[in-house]
Symmetry: C2
Subunit: 231 residues, 2 copies
DNA sequence: TATCACTTATGATATATATCATAATATATA
DNA sequence: TATATATTATGATATATATCATAAGTGATA
């Protein structure tokens, strides 16, 4: 694992107003002193299942996957986190060790904030605490919602879901490069790798999408949405 | 829906030390004034998808199911909540309206605490806020873990899971009365009603359990655990 | 460049699961 | 109590999905 630390200041961070708007200048200085910002190349581990929890992790840039290792050759991906997501989920507040592993699936920048600092802010700054609970609630709940959305659908609906997820919520474009392999898609939506490939081929034959290796273009989003809605 | 309000005092509540231990006597009085404790008979709705959120709901007694309505005849159960659980999940902090419905599956007592009072405690009482985040985190995360546990298993593993869940975590006994119908089990673990019944029959034939209507007794917990572990 | 491992691809087959059909039993309701 | 309705039960069949097998393409690396 290669770590390269980035030196930047919380008070100038574009996301400050979003996640840490209720901190005083003094608290921001504290935050800045107790955070490390680390660059991860695609494929590098951010943290591993079992590691001791010491930081609150915040994705500034890139894309990471949150997963559990099932067997030697298979993982189970719980979610894909985007910038502004708190990537450790809530277990960091109720466990001493990580119950998930996190790996960058694109070049990413993760902010590691000393968990004790966050806790002290919660303890002393009520406005921050309230805002903080709202933010973590929203992310945690959307993970639950996504799991249900996926598991109540069958294969074509799941693939449609993933395509729409990347197009709408990650890349904001109908044309994007798949950041994960077909095998990882399979691990994310609970199906076999072969069937992920097969359904993508079907979608191509049905002229719903263009595929060229990792590059995907959605060409009939209306019909794709219908497939998703029907399950 | 029949509501019967119960008059009891928070300061005498057996669960106070668990959920609200960091409140001052003054705050406890405030809590007491802004809470309603309601008795629900089995089958009665605690709240419905779409209802406006105004309370933080806490299960004192009984058992409730949290679910989304899929079609006229089918629901999707997200979780079964036990006493001490915050039954609204975290969406109550990030939404204005409930995204799940809640129904009692056993006679239950639910405490409704004005959400604004909880928020004001978070705002002004740091120790409470910290403890509170730990509690809601733990419940939210266990919902995610349960969903994964269920969906990575096949039918026999799922039924084993549910049986063990009720025996170990709900009733603390190998002998219990199933609080939900086979159809509801199916809705909870994403399988067809017929197959829930079928697998239960198989388990009976394999001498893993005794069944007599709703009454279940686990007679070979070791083998049941093995089936669960194998998936 | 040559070799190796991994990913994508597709067909054939096996397996898991859902659906349909029917009946017995239990539960609710008039 | 009688009747309707929902639940439990089981077999037969259809469908969805996984697994196995094979091959071509891709990327890493020595």
């Amino acid at each position: 694992m290669e770590l390269s630390q980035i030196i930047s200041n919380c008070k100038d961070c574009g996301y400050r107003s979003w996640a840490f708007k209720n901190l005083s200048p003094e608290e921001l200085k504290q935050l800045n002193n107790k955070k490390v910002e680390i660059f991860f190349r695609k494929g590098e581990h951010v943290c591993m299942e079992g590691d001791e929890i010491s930081s609150f992790m915040y994705l500034r840039n890139g894309l990471v996957k949150l997963y559990k290792t099932e067997t030697n050759t298979r993982e189970h991906i719980i979610s894909i986190a985007k910038p502004k997501d708190f990537i450790g989920l809530l277990s960091i507040f109720s466990n001493t060790n990580h119950i998930y592993s996190i790996t960058a699936i694109e070049d990413s920048v993760v902010c590691f904030v000393d968990l004790n600092v966050i806790k002290s802010f919660i303890n002393t700054n009520g406005a921050f605490a309230l805002d903080f609970i709202e933010k973590i609630s929203s992310i945690s709940d959307s993970v639950i919602k996504t799991r249900i959305d996926i598991n109540t659908r069958q294969l074509r609906g799941r693939i449609a879901y993933i395509l729409l997820l990347f197009a709408k919520h990650v890349y904001d474009s109908n044309k994007f490069s798949f950041p994960i392999s077909r095998k990882e898609v399979a691990e994310l939506i609970d199906m076999s790798t072969e069937n992920v490939i097969r359904v993508l081929s079907e979608f191509r034959k049905d002229k719903l999408i263009h595929i060229e290796g990792k590059n995907i273009e959605i060409i009939d989003i209306k019909r794709l949405e219908k497939i998703y809605e029907l399950g």
